[in-house]
Symmetry: C2
Subunit: 204 residues, 2 copies
Amino acid sequence: MKNSQGIIFVISAPSGTGKTTICERLLKSSPNLKMSISHTTRRPRAGEKDGVNYYFIDRTKFEEMIKNGDFIEWAEVYGNLYGTSKKIINDLLNSGNDVLLDIDIQGAKNIKKIYPESVLIFILPPSIEELARRLYNRNEEPNVIRNRLNRVAEEVIQYEFYDYLLINDNLEKAIEEALCIINAERLKTNRINKDFMNNFLKTI
Amino acid sequence: MKNSQGIIFVISAPSGTGKTTICERLLKSSPNLKMSISHTTRRPRAGEKDGVNYYFIDRTKFEEMIKNGDFIEWAEVYGNLYGTSKKIINDLLNSGNDVLLDIDIQGAKNIKKIYPESVLIFILPPSIEELARRLYNRNEEPNVIRNRLNRVAEEVIQYEFYDYLLINDNLEKAIEEALCIINAERLKTNRINKDFMNNFLKTI
């Protein structure tokens, strides 16, 4: 059964919630799901590759893209610019894929405005103490951790804006739940290709 | 994470679609999901047990229950009465369970009217030819098969009234998809217990 058009899945989560691992596993398990790679002015971290993790561009180029209306949504986070390219998303949807987006709540709101049928998933750590512990273990600096926790507080309070909420207290369970959300959304009657059903009805 | 209240899942499907097997497997895989057993005036088939498959009652008793307003929905199908008891559903919900209901489209409509948050799932065979083949293999009589296929035609055309549509072209896949629907619905933000989130927010 084919859906009438690709579905956009947005995942938002505080850093340290396991979001990156969950996204990687979703892409592996679901061949029709493709990540929309964001543009950013942030410098690549060790191991990050241009065109894989992000398109790494400079601020001048980024501001040019803003001016050209190339971004569906963009945001400044901790002094770095992040943006989602309209063309990348539409190319993926037009080639019959579902799209996975890893963006923050402000970006999620913009996506929902433009694509009301998109599916918004928020991932939480089991507790704030656990999140702080995970960030310490990643050797983040105390002021970075403080900033992040403040940001979590601002975001979590808006959880009702999202369609689904996952608690990552067990990574495998969280991945399975996220896959279930993707599978279930694909089975919704309002997403079903009318031609498919008309063909079925003709056999009766 | 606990949901603020139990969820009602309604499964409708033409006979021969594998609905009974799917329901049995869902109940096994999901301990918090309980079947709401219907009342019927139909005679038990070989192997069916009172209080397990149905509550088998006579027409006088059934009509008394209708008069008392004991049923959320009831219907006459092929000359037999089937009804869903209000008390059974509410007892299950109040004891912290989700409820599985195996009823037809008319019953599903009544459930949705009374419980707008209920989740309606429609299961289809891969094709009408395949359904006819399955019914022949069950040694159903030709006029029974004709009746059933006519009924399918009437029902399928209303598929958009349901929230989800499954095609059972592979039993294991269909069971997995039905389980995903149940899991995903439990993760919807609008079903989340507000106390749970308030407690989380307090830790920030």
